[in-house]
Amino acid sequence: MEFNIIWKSSRGLCIELTGEGSVYTEEYTVILDGKEMFSSNRVIQSLHGLKPDTEYSLRLSRNGQCSPEKHIRTEREFVTLDVHDFGALGDGENNDTLSIQAAILSCPENSRVYVPKGVYKVSSLFLKSGITLELGKDAVLSAYTERKYFPILPGLIQSYDEESEYNLASWEGNPLDSFASIITGIGVSDVTICGEGIIEGNANYKNWWEGEGRKKTGGAFRPRTIFLNRCSNVVIQGISVRNSPSWTIHPYFSENIRILDVKLKNPKISPNTDGIDPESVKNLEIAGVDFSLGDDCIAVKSGKRYMGHKYVTPSENIEIRHCHMKYGHGSVTVGSEISAGVNNLYCHDCIFEDTDRGLRIKTRRGRGKESVIDNIRFENISMDGVLTPFVLNSYYWCCDPDGKSEYVKCKDPLPVDDRTPAVGKVSFKNIKASNCHVAAAFMYGLPESKIGELSFENVNIDFAKEPKPDYPAMMADIEPCTNKGIFIRNCKKLVLKDVCVNGAEGEAFDLDGIDSDSGGQK
């Protein structure tokens, strides 16, 4: 049994077992300085409650076998600021926002703001560079849901010389006024949000998710739970987040972000409650995260036309591993707000369970020539109960007025111009999808801008005994179906190697508009 220490701080660390499966493994015991601490079956596992600048020895044991021992020294820490010392009560009634904010703003570099056990009523807390915000065991940051308690972040402020602009907030790919998030970072760096505690958004169908309340109400759009605007070197580790008003974690124009061993839970049908939405983000690691949500688990974006065209900042270099994604529309979605493109996304060793789609790429004409999706790789994925495991939809019709226009819908080749998006290489290797319902794969490229390469290698798909009919993709002119095979349109190069579709009705492989089919082992 081998493991690596993938992250450490002054008070905790995170380990990753190697060669031990995707998300879960056979139960093992964590032994710290010779003392058995706890048992776990997770490949990514956190340890909390360590002391700063202290040497520890760590090993794992299972069935009498031990891993090699690792010696580690925790990071140094200057001071801890306990929020109780700043007036926070944590009694579930007092508004503790100002007290916790005072602790954050008073915190020197390489120090920790500590939130001990208790329920702390808060609206928005703003981060500061160089600090750690730790939520202790049984600590809950419990958010207000009344809009009047939340400050508004303006979407765009014009500079006085009218040459530039300051973008503070965002809503679904546009720079629009939004309520500040429960945790908000604006231009901060070297920040850690960690611990065993909970951020409770308290959203429900009577407040943030209520019909009209979903849209702009009270002068702004809904807050996220964690919003990181133009931040760098941020770690989110260990915590749980529940009942988010809208997207749960939204890194935006940020880089070097790590999200480790976090649990994200929103009700199954809650609106726009995506898990993690990296938007124009560079270098992102998502490892050991549990998702149970009402919308996309991970949705990688790079803005709608204005932001994508003006700032041309793609999302790139994203690794997703050892995650369990449950419910929601897509497990890993790319788009649809991807006007600046997405490249180098590698998702491996994950479980997708009961989501509508596994990989879901959403784009359409009009996203622009900068909207290039390339080098998307999926490996070692186990899916169960996913309606359609692989979807690439170049005709996505939601959610803007142009979505259902003739220009977007047209299946004939149109001239390639500044509005035409592109999809490069997308590959799938070692994928098992059981109990699918709708289609094995539904990949529809544009005839004038075909998908560069689709590669399926060692992919095994079977269908549920009682499949539920549904639409394989959100596009015009298709009908609900079940047990559809691999359907591909408009692709330059298609590689099919050891691909097995069991139980498809009709053709298992329905291929058209393929320039080069280089696989015969179906």
């Binding site: 009218e162 546009n174 226009s405």
Partner: protein, 138 residues
């Protein structure tokens, strides 16, 4: 309302000013914004005329054009941000090119430009602290 009245025929800036804000309201409130693209095309054509004609375009036409933009852009739903900002950018560009001279234009044209600046300041298209001095006659 025929929202394509301007699309395939010549139009005056006065017609643009009188109709486009109403068309934009109709599109936003009753037509699911499906005609936003048409609005954009129409204003792009108007902008081509403004850009191509330089000083030859009359002050009256320029003032109607600016007032048309100031009346229309705020009616475009902000969630279709690029359409809204295209109009705002057109307005800012043309206003900036004329801000130092418009007060020498004929009385009605000056009044229209002032009115457009007032709307633009109120709707956030312009920085109020920088432009409000142009709203009232000096």
């Amino acid at each position: 309302m025929n929202r394509t009245i301007f699309k395939d025929q010549e139009f005056t800036m006065r017609e643009l000013c009188e109709e486009m804000p109403k068309i934009a309201i109709f599109e936003t409130t009753e037509n699911a914004k499906e005609g936003y693209q048409d609005i954009q095309i129409i204003f792009d054509r108007a902008y081509e005329r403004v850009s191509a004609s330089g000083t030859k375009l009359s002050h009256e036409e320029l003032s109607f054009y600016l007032l048309a933009l100031a009346g229309t852009a705020p009616q475009i739903d902000e969630e279709v941000f690029d359409h809204k900002m295209n109009l705002v950018t057109q307005y800012r560009t043309v206003l900036k090119n004329n801000i130092s001279v418009f007060e020498g234009w004929d009385k009605d044209s000056v009044r229209r430009v002032r009115e457009s600046i007032k709307i633009a300041c109120e709707s956030g298209m312009l920085l109020k602290e920088k432009y409000e001095k142009y709203i009232e006659e000096q």
